[in-house]
């Protein structure tokens, strides 16, 4: 019984939040990795793209709410999501047309793209704060829980409760659908294959008649979708605040690099590696240990390896270890 309680406590505080957070990071890292694979630069504006996508979705959500439209137990934001993606796609395509395309025709080196993306980051950051403000925004509605801790206790008779938030459930389901669709698209459709070909060998792709501008356009649209979905899921789960999205840049890049930049499978693996390390290392294991250890050995402290204030240090240390020992990442990076 104690073992079961320990497992429930672990699921409640480590497994479920880890899976949800991992899915969010994986979606973010997929966007970064797509840009790296096709446009060949590290996009520092990605965190703020996620913030913009989430913001656009929130605005539409509010509009729908004011019209009295809702999805019942599900958050209205899901209904607003396609609109958010559309706005973000327009923004990214506009940015590409006005800013990035010039450097592409110049065949500028990736560092220049990176610095340009810093400028874009500034602009997007300003734009988001200008429109919605720098503060926290609430937009989650509908049923908050799929399983409530108290009901779970009453239902199972265990002393430890299990809470499963709607946002977590939606995150996992959405992530699975999106990732499955993306892999199908990249591996089975002609357009997806042409993107992989472009990423693999740009010159040969041109020789084969693949239109580079079309590939780039589709990439930005996919990135807009991935970033918006990741941003909205994160916002539903943990609340929306522009600055936290900027801070997500580090774990997202860590995830993409750990998996191997440019490798979609790597981005997903990296997302979960980073998320679980972060959650596990910053979780206080006192409760779990109290259940599984004999009373005489009960821990006195919190048994927390690192305080949650240092969660960024976890991504960072993993990043450093990967850079030291396997700079190409767990999966070989570069091509899609």
């Amino acid at each position: 019984m104690d073992l079961l309680n320990a497992f429930i406590a672990l699921s409640n505080f480590v497994l479920i939040p880890g899976i949800a957070y991992g899915s969010q990071l994986a979606l973010g890292a997929l966007g970064v990795t797509l840009i790296y694979g096709i446009l060949r630069f590290s996009n520092f504006a990605h965190g703020d793209t996620m913030a913009f996508g989430a913001m656009a979705t929130i605005m539409v959500t509010w509009l729908l709410q004011s019209w009295g439209i809702s999805l019942g137990p599900l958050p209205t934001a899901l209904l607003a999501l396609p609109f958010g993606i559309a706005f973000t796609a327009l923004l990214l395509l506009g940015t590409d047309r006005v800013i990035y395309r010039f450097y592409r025709t110049q065949k500028s080196p990736p560092v220049i793209f990176l610095i340009v993306s810093l400028g874009v980051m500034f602009i997007m950051n300003g734009l988001v704060r200008f429109i919605i403000g720098p503060g926290d925004q609430r937009f989650a509605d509908g049923e908050r829980f799929i399983i409530r801790a108290r009901e779970f206790k009453a239902w199972t008779g265990l002393s430890e409760g299990l809470a499963f938030k709607t946002s977590q459930g939606i995150t996992v389901i959405t992530a699975v659908i999106v990732v499955a669709w993306l892999f199908w698209f990249l591996n089975k459709t002609r357009t997806g294959k042409s993107m992989r070909a472009f990423s693999d060998n740009e010159d040969l792709a041109l020789l084969s008649g693949i239109n580079p501008e079309r590939v780039v356009t589709i990439t930005w649209i996919l990135v807009a979708a991935l970033a918006t979905i990741a941003g909205v899921l994160y916002g539903l789960d943990k609340g929306f605040k522009p600055f936290t999205y900027f801070q997500l840049l580090l774990p997202i890049f860590a995830a993409a690099i750990v998996g191997g930049l440019g490798n979609p499978l790597g981005a997903i693996t990296g997302g979960f590696v980073i998320a679980f390390s972060e959650v596990t290392i910053t979780y206080a294991f006192k409760k779990v240990l109290t259940y599984i250890l004999p009373d005489s050995l009960d821990p006195t402290g919190l048994v927390q390896l690192l305080s949650t204030d240092y969660k960024f240090a976890v991504s960072f240390v993993i990043l450093i270890i990967v850079l030291l020992f396997k700079p190409t990442g767990l999966f070989k990076g570069k091509a899609l």
């Binding site: 002609r190 294959k193 042409s194 070909a197 060998n201 040969l204 020789l207 084969s208 008649g209 693949i210």
Partner: protein, 237 residues
Amino acid sequence: MSEPFLIGDKMTGGYGKGPDILHDCTLAVNKGEIAVIVGPNGAGKSTAMKAVFGMLNVHTGAVRLNGEDITKLSPQARVAKGMGFVPQTSNIFTSMTVEENLEMGAFLREDGMEETMQQVYDLFPILKEKRLQAAGELSGGQRQQVAVGRALMTKPTVLMLDEPTAGVSPIVMDELFDRIIEVARTGISILMVEQNARQALEIADKGYVLVQGANRFTDTGQALLADPEVRKSFLGG
């Protein structure tokens, strides 16, 4: 004599705004024939072929395909016109399967490509066997087959090969040459650059010996092989 199917006529030019590398250089190939460009290192062999394919700034002279002037067309547009090009290096999508490589070759085509793909598999049976394997995992000779196969997928009328036998063993080279002859028999003109001058000239209908970006000798393959001066200077005696 009527004009050859493809002709790079008296081409002079270089890369971008750089100095001229080609000087009044002429290359031509008839329908279903094999033309081979040989010459010492740095003679501009690959450059000459790239000029025919539109990757060079040719300011004097012209390139004509089937009588049509294509001098101003981009390489991509030439692909659409029926020219296939196999670069010397990075000529396959290493992370994609053999079949996907062929599919990408046919990217421009609107009609079905199953038939062409079957023809490529008939020509290179080993590719059919390995069609679901990543092209980057294949051996050197097999990679070249993928590269040629990819270029054939557009159903080109002219196939241009830049040193197709670079870095493969002599046995594989012979095999590749056999395949190239087979391709030519289907009516496709072949223009290729070769380091292995002697073997290449043996299968060539037409041979061009280039030196410093200009034509030095031009004749049938057999005649060049028999020419004592060519033998002495370019074929090692």
